[in-house]
Subunit: 210 residues, 2 copies
Amino acid sequence: VLDLYFSPLACSLAARIALGEAGLEARYHRVDLGSKTLTEDGGDYRAIAPKGKIPALRLEDGSVLTENVAVLQCLADRWAEARPAPAADAASAYRQTEWLGFVSTELHKGFLYPTFAPESPEETRRHVRANVGAALAHVDASLADRPWLLGDAFSVADAYLVWALVLTRHLGIDFAPWPALASYLERALARPSVAAALAIERALNPEKKR
Amino acid sequence: VLDLYFSPLACSLAARIALGEAGLEARYHRVDLGSKTLTEDGGDYRAIAPKGKIPALRLEDGSVLTENVAVLQCLADRWAEARPAPAADAASAYRQTEWLGFVSTELHKGFLYPTFAPESPEETRRHVRANVGAALAHVDASLADRPWLLGDAFSVADAYLVWALVLTRHLGIDFAPWPALASYLERALARPSVAAALAIERALNPEKKR
């Protein structure tokens, strides 16, 4: 069985959504990112994931995978095995990786990370917020003709994007200029996997991010 | 034949190194990132890559792939076809994706991008420079027992890391605290593919980054 190391409403939420969509079983281990310890027993998280970041996914063979693009790629492969879908060709696999790369750099590392990191300079927060519109506009334009990033099927790239959009909206950024993006988010929030993942992690973290 | 859209010494250098390692033919098209035009004919680069960023890789079927993690993943697959190597199993593929994710977020988007972007606040530059040591230390620790990121064979993850380290060193960051990283970079610079890629792009851009 898989083990997912997570922090409530952090980017590991994308892996939880993907696991739910795929119907894959996993054990979930909460990490205190401040002290780098496991909530369940106070164990040293760096002994599992030396970088001390989430998500980390432990596979059945004991190996541990980190970085969202790799964790989500691995879950996409497991998902495809569990629920084979038509048209999972190489072109759509590269398109999926392209979106994982976009979300991880333009939205996550370029905007959300510096916004939420306690040590970020205020100038940095202002600058990234003033510039995130270009990335949101690209997402909006890409969704003009399709329900999900890769077409008709929800994928791990959507799981990652949905997490990023929930946090972006929570920061008070108004999606009105990007109607395709706004309706995409509503559509995503109505999916059982997304609703369940958010409900579980909000209950664990009632005071912070929505 | 593949078409690579690049800017001299920008992150597209990693794709050039990968193409060289794989012995793959490609046409190279220089992009002026300020005006978003092609140097060869003044054409609109956004007509090829709407986000206006490099690298972009046009495949034989005319489709265009962007984002380093996707472009390098695609080149890794072509490379494996062109020069099959033993032990290209799923575990090492995920490890490769993990390193692509790490370089793209921790070194590229988290450090190099804000450092080189002309519009970055000075406070941001200072902050990311003060914090890049943790990422470099992780690379150094990972290289203690192997010549390349994935073991005995140079991969696209190395191509990306080498580019990042060349620019990081050019910024005056001393690698003395990380001896495994420093000797890795020397080893990489001695590879014909790396030396050739750097020589070509330095000749195109003699005044800027080393």
